[in-house]
C-alpha cells in the first residue's frame, strides 16, 4: 500500500503581488487605534473605580497596580484578537477552494522580535511588581513574621485571631483586650498580626487591601494606613471548614479620637475577661494553657487539644 499523498496540485507561489494589500500595516493600524482607545478608557474612566478602591494605602496601591497591568494587558489582548479576527475574515478559504496555503515554515526576524518583546514586557512587569511590593503601600499582603518594611513610628498593633468560624481581634497596646468588633483609626499605620489557633484561615479586609493567611502557630504581618472613614468588610478567604462561607465581619474606620474613646472604654468594660485570657503573644499554643487551674490539670486538661493525640505524645526535641 503506497503512501497516499494528500497534497493536491501545488499552490501558486505566494509572492506579494502588486494587488496584495499590506496585511501587516492594516492590522497594525487597527490595533493601534483600538489599543489607544482601550488604554484611555481604562485609565481615565474605569481606573478611579477599579477594585479594591482607595480607602487605605494598601488598597490604593493595589488599585494602581491593577490599572497599570490592565493598561499593559489590553494592547496584548487586542493584538491577538485583532490578528485572529483579521485572519478569519481575510484569509478564509473561499467556497470550493481546495488549494494549500504558502509554505511558510518560519521567519527568524519575527520570531526573535516576538521573543524579545514578550521578554521585555514580562521583565518590566517584574520590576514594576517588585518595586510596588517593597514600598510601604505594598505591605497589604501577609509577609510572615519578618516583614521587609516597618513604619518608622510605632504603629497600632491589631492581632487577628482566626478561629473556626469567627475572627477575633486583640489590641495589645490597650491592655490586650479581645473583641469581635474590628474598629480602626484613620491616618495611622496599622500593623496586623494574623494568626490562627486551629486551621488555616485568611484575613481579607477588602477595603483595606489586606489579605494575610491565618496559619496556626505562625505570625503573619501586614501593614496598611486608612485614608478616610468608612465601613470595612472582612471575609475569610481560605476554606476553613463547614461555615467558611459564613465567616465574615464588618469593621469600621473611625477618626482617631473616636477610636481612642472606643478602645479606652472597651478596655475597661472587658477587664475581667482580659484577665482570664492568656497573655498577649504573637502565636498561641492552645494545647498548653499556663493558667489552667490545678483541678482541671489533674483531670487531664492541660490545654484544649481535642483528645486527638494522647497527652503523653512527646514534642520534637
Amino acid at each position: 500500500m503506497a503512501a497516499t499523498s494528500p497534497n493536491p496540485a501545488p499552490a501558486p507561489a505566494p509572492a506579494a503581488g502588486p494587488g496584495e494589500p499590506n496585511h501587516g500595516l492594516r492590522i497594525f493600524i487597527v490595533w493601534l487605534v483600538l489599543s489607544l482607545a482601550a488604554d484611555l478608557v481604562i485609565w481615565f474612566v474605569w481606573g478611579p473605580h477599579m477594585p479594591p478602591g482607595a480607602l487605605s494605602s494598601a488598597a490604593a496601591s493595589q488599585q494602581f497596580d491593577i490599572n497599570v497591568m490592565a493598561i499593559m494587558a489590553a494592547p496584548v489582548m487586542i493584538l491577538v484578537l485583532v490578528y485572529f479576527g483579521y485572519a478569519l475574515i481575510v484569509w478564509r478559504a473561499r467556497e470550493g477552494d481546495e488549494e494549500d496555503g504558502p509554505p511558510l515554515h518560519g521567519n527568524t526576524r519575527i520570531q526573535a522580535t516576538w521573543i524579545t518583546v514578550t521578554a521585555a514586557i514580562v521583565l518590566g512587569l517584574f520590576v514594576f511588581g517588585t518595586v510596588q511590593l517593597v514600598v510601604p503601600q505594598g505591605a497589604g499582603a501577609g509577609e510572615g513574621a519578618s516583614p521587609i518594611w516597618r513604619p518608622s513610628a510605632t504603629p497600632l498593633q491589631v492581632q487577628v485571631i482566626g478561629q473556626q468560624w469567627k475572627f477575633s481581634y486583640r489590641y495589645p497596646q490597650f491592655g490586650g483586650f479581645q473583641t469581635t468588633d474590628l474598629v480602626l483609626p484613620v491616618g495611622q499605620w496599622i500593623e496586623f498580626h494574623v494568626t490562627s489557633i486551629d486551621v488555616i484561615h485568611s484575613f481579607w479586609a477588602y477595603q483595606l487591601g489586606v489579605k494575610a493567611d491565618a496559619n496556626p502557630g505562625v505570625d503573619n504581618v501586614a501593614y496598611t494606613k486608612i485614608n478616610h472613614v468608612g465601613t470595612i468588610t472582612v471575609r475569610c478567604a481560605e476554606l476553613c471548614g463547614l461555615w467558611h462561607g459564613a465567616m465574615f465581619d464588618y469593621g469600621s474606620a473611625l477618626p482617631m479620637s473616636a477610636f481612642r474613646a472606643w478602645a479606652a472604654s472597651t478596655e475597661v468594660h472587658l477587664a475581667t475577661v482580659t484577665k482570664a485570657l492568656p497573655p498577649y503573644s504573637l502565636t498561641y499554643d492552645p494545647t498548653m494553657v499556663a493558667q489552667m487551674s490545678k483541678a482541671m490539670v489533674a483531670g487531664g486538661f492541660a490545654g484544649a487539644p481535642g483528645l486527638y493525640y494522647p497527652p503523653t505524645d512527646p514534642e520534637q526535641p
Binding site: H23, I66, A73, I115, V122, P216, G245
Partner: protein, 661 residues
C-alpha cells in the same frame, strides 16, 4: 532502536503452547465483572482488618460505646484492599503469577489481538487502541458527572440567602466537583488521544509497556468510584486542595479524597512513563525529533511533568493519611509539624498539574491548525521550545499559590519573576498560531472552530494569570472568584475546548464513524457563547470581594451571580448537545467514515479508519514531516511498504538521509 521484529515465544517446562485463554466463555474470563467482585471482597477484608487495628484507637471518654462509624483505619484499608482486589479481578496479576509458578504463559503477540467486538473494551487488554477508547468513554463519564456537580453549585449560588441545600452538602459538592475535575481530567487528552495516537503518529505498531498503559486506565474507574463513595461517608469539607490541618480534622470522607487522589497520581505516573518510553524508543526510521508531530511533543512534555510531579502528590497524600490514621504529626504545628509543609508539597505537585492540564491542549490545537489552514506549522522549533520551556519552568513557580500565606517575603519577587517568565514560552503557542494563520486558506470546520475557541479562551485565561502573578494585585485577587475565573478559562476554555476539537477531529480515525457536523456547529457556538457568558463576569465578582467556595455572598452581587448561574445551566445544555451527538453518532447513526476526511498529512491518517490491528502492516519509513502543506513536490509523509531490507538495514547503520522536505 528497540522495535521488536520477533513476537515473544511461549515457553514452558513441558513444551508446547497451551490452549488459548480465548476459548473460555466471556463470563469466565477476567473482565470488569470479576474486577467488581474482587473490589468488593477486597473492601470487606480491608474494612475488617481496619476494625481490628482500630479498636485500640478510639480517643474519646466513652470507650465502652460500640465502635463509632468515624474511625479511619477501616476506610483506608478497605479502599486499599479494594484497589488490590479490583486489579486482581481484572487479571493483571495472572501472567505474573503463572510465571512465578513456572507455568507457561500464553503468548499475546501484537498482531494476535482480541476479536473485534464490545467485550474487549471491558477487559484488561494490551492493545493501545482499545485502551484509548476505554479512556475516552471513561473521561466523558467523569467529566459529565463532575459537570453535574457544577450545576448543583451554581444552583445553590442563585441566591445569597436562600439555601437550596444545606451548607455541608454544598461544601461536599464543591470538593467533589473540584477534585473530580482536577484529578481525573489530568489524563483527559493523554489518556484517550495520547495512548491511541502516539504510536500511530510515530510509526510504531505498539507502545512500550502495554500492561502499564492498560493498568493506568483501569485505576481511573476505581479512583472515580472511591471519590464518589466519599459522599456516602459524609464528604470532605476542604475542596480539591486539601489543606492541612483542616484535612486532618475532617471525618472519614477525607480518606476517600486522599486515596482517590493518590491512586490517580499513580495512574498518571504510569501513563506518562509509558508515553516517554514509547516516543524515545519506538519511533520509525526517519522519524527524527524534528519531524514528530507537535501533538507528540506535547504528550512527551506532559508525560515528563506527570512522572516528575505526581510522586510528590502521592507522598503528600500518604502523609495526610498517616496523620489521620497513625497519629503522626507532619502537618500539626503544636507537635512540631507545619501546615506549610502540606501547602508546599501539594503545590509543588499542583503547579505542574495545571500544566499537565494545559500542555495537551496546546498540542491538540497546534496539530489541528496546519490541517485547516493548509500551511506548515509556523515555527516548529519555537513551538517545541515553548513546550519544553513550560515544562522546565513549571517546577519553579509553585509558591505563587502561597504569596499571602506568610512565606519569607524575599521569596515573593523570586516566584513573581518565574511565574511571569513562564508566560514567555506560553506565548510561543500564540506566535506559532498567528504565523500559521498568515495568508492561510482557513477552513472553519468543527475541529477548527474549537481550536480557535481554545486560543480565544486561553488568551483571557493566560492574561488573567499575569494579573495573579503580580503580588500586590494578587493580594486582592487571591482566594476570590478571580482565581476561579482564571483557571476555568485556562482549563475549561483551554483544555476542554481542545478536547472537543480532538474528539471531532480524531473520532473518524479512532472509531471510523462521522460525528454530525451540524450538531457539532451548534455545540461549538452554544458552548463558546455560554462559556464566556458564565466565566467572564466571575472576574468582576472576584474583584468585588466574593471569596471562593462560599455559599453566602454580598447581596449586591446577586444579579451577577444569577447571570452566571443561568449561563452555567445553558453551558451544561451545550455539553448535553455534545453528549447527544456523540452517543447518537456512535450508537445509532454510525455513518461510516473511511480514509482521510480532513486531508491531513499526519501519519495516523495514512492507514485505514479505524487502523488495523498492529497499526501498520510493516513499520513505515518516514520521508518528511507532517506539516509540509503548500510545498510543491513534497514527498509523502511516509513510505508504508518500504522495500525489504530497508527496515533492518536501518538498524545496521544510521538511516541514510532521504529526500528532505
Amino acid at each position: 532502536m528497540a522495535i521488536e521484529t520477533q513476537p515473544e515465544k511461549a515457553y514452558g517446562a513441558g513444551g508446547g503452547v497451551p490452549a488459548s485463554r480465548r476459548q473460555r466463555p466471556w463470563w469466565m474470563r477476567p473482565a470488569i465483572h470479576t474486577a467488581i467482585i474482587g473490589a468488593v471482597i477486597g473492601y470487606l477484608l480491608g474494612h475488617l482488618l481496619g476494625n481490628f487495628l482500630a479498636s485500640s484507637n478510639v480517643a474519646t471518654e466513652y470507650p465502652n460505646l460500640p465502635l463509632s462509624d468515624s474511625s479511619d483505619w477501616p476506610i483506608v484499608l478497605g479502599y486499599a484492599l479494594a484497589v488490590v482486589g479490583w486489579v486482581a479481578g481484572l487479571g493483571v496479576f495472572n501472567d505474573l503469577l503463572r510465571q512465578m509458578a513456572g507455568r507457561p504463559v500464553p503468548v499475546e503477540a501484537e498482531e494476535d489481538t482480541e476479536p473485534a467486538g464490545l467485550a474487549r473494551y471491558f477487559r484488561f487488554t494490551l492493545d493501545h487502541k482499545v485502551v484509548g477508547i476505554q479512556y475516552l468513554v471513561g473521561m466523558l463519564i467523569y467529566f459529565c458527572t463532575a459537570g453535574l456537580f457544577a450545576m448543583a453549585i451554581r444552583a445553590e449560588l442563585l441566591s445569597p440567602s436562600y439555601h437550596l441545600f444545606s451548607s455541608s452538602t454544598y461544601i461536599e459538592v464543591v470538593g467533589e466537583h473540584g477534585t473530580m475535575m482536577m484529578m481525573l481530567m489530568s489524563s483527559v487528552i493523554l489518556g484517550p488521544f495520547g495512548n491511541y495516537l502516539v504510536p500511530l503518529m510515530i510509526g510504531s505498531k505498539r507502545v512500550a509497556f502495554p500492561r502499564v498503559e492498560a493498568l493506568s486506565f483501569w485505576l481511573t474507574p476505581m479512583a472515580f468510584l472511591i471519590l464518589l463513595s466519599g459522599l456516602l461517608l459524609g464528604g470532605f469539607p476542604f475542596g480539591w486542595t486539601g489543606y492541612a490541618p483542616l484535612s486532618i480534622q475532617s471525618t472519614i470522607g477525607a480518606d476517600s479524597y486522599a486515596m482517590a487522589f493518590g491512586l490517580m497520581g499513580i495512574s498518571i505516573i504510569m501513563a506518562g512513563f509509558n508515553i516517554i518510553c514509547t516516543v524515545i524508543c519506538y519511533r520509525a526510521p526517519g522519524m527524527r525529533w524534528s519531524r514528530i508531530p507537535m501533538f507528540v511533543w506535547a504528550m512527551v512534555a506532559t508525560s515528563f511533568l506527570m512522572v516528575l510531579a505526581a510522586p510528590v502528590l502521592v507522598g503528600g497524600m500518604y502523609m495526610m493519611i498517616m496523620d489521620r490514621t497513625a497519629q503522626t504529626a507532619f502537618f500539626v504545628d503544636t507537635l512540631g509539624g507545619s501546615a506549610y509543609l502540606y501547602e508546599n508539597l501539594f503545590w509543588f505537585f499542583g503547579h505542574p498539574e495545571v500544566y499537565i492540564l494545559a500542555l495537551p491542549g496546546f498540542g491538540v490545537v497546534s496539530e489541528i491548525l496546519p490541517v485547516f489552514t493548509r500551511k506548515p506549522l509556523f515555527g516548529y522549533k519555537v513551538a517545541a521550545a515553548g513546550m519544553i520551556g513550560v515544562t522546565l519552568l513549571s517546577f519553579f513557580v509553585w509558591q505563587h499559590h502561597l504569596f499571602d500565606s506568610g512565606i519569607n517575603p524575599d521569596m515573593r519577587p523570586v516566584f513573581m519573576l518565574t511565574t511571569e517568565l513562564i508566560s514567555i514560552p506560553t506565548g510561543f503557542i500564540y506566535l506559532v498560531a498567528m504565523g500559521t494563520l498568515w495568508k492561510a486558506k482557513i477552513r472553519l470546520t468543527v475541529p477548527m472552530l474549537f481550536a480557535l475557541g481554545m486560543y480565544f479562551n486561553f488568551l483571557i485565561g493566560g492574561i488573567s494569570g499575569v494579573f495573579l502573578s503580580d503580588v500586590p494585585a494578587d493580594t486582592t485577587e487571591h482566594g476570590s472568584f478571580f482565581v476561579m475565573a482564571h483557571f476555568h478559562y485556562t482549563i475549561m476554555g483551554g483544555l476542554i475546548f481542545a478536547f472537543m476539537a480532538a474528539c471531532y477531529y480524531w473520532l473518524p480515525k479512532m472509531m471510523g464513524i462521522k460525528l454530525n457536523q451540524t450538531l457539532g456547529k451548534w455545540h461549538f457556538w452554544t458552548m463558546f457563547i455560554f462559556f464566556n457568558s458564565t466565566f467572564l463576569p466571575l472576574f468582576a465578582v472576584g474583584m468585588a470581594g466574593q471569596p471562593r467556595r462560599v455559599f453566602e455572598y454580598a447581596r449586591n452581587l446577586e444579579t451577577l451571580n444569577d447571570w452566571v448561574s443561568i449561563s452555567a445551566f445553558c453551558l451544561g445544555g451545550s455539553i448535553l448537545i455534545f453528549v447527544i451527538n456523540f452517543v447518537w453518532s456512535t450508537v445509532i447513526a454510525r455513518v461510516r467514515e473511511e480514509g482521510n476526511p480532513w486531508r491531513s498529512r499526519g501519519l495516523e491518517w495514512q492507514v485505514s479508519s479505524p487502523p488495523p490491528p498492529g497499526n501498520f502492516a510493516q513499520v513505515p519509513v518516514v520521508l518528511s514531516g507532517p506539516y509540509e502543506y503548500g510545498t510543491p513536490g513534497a514527498p509523502p509523509v511516509a513510505d508504508l511498504s518500504p522495500p525489504l531490507g530497508v527496515v533492518s538495514a536501518a538498524y545496521a547503520e544510521p538511516v541514510a538521509a532521504r529526500a528532505e522536505a
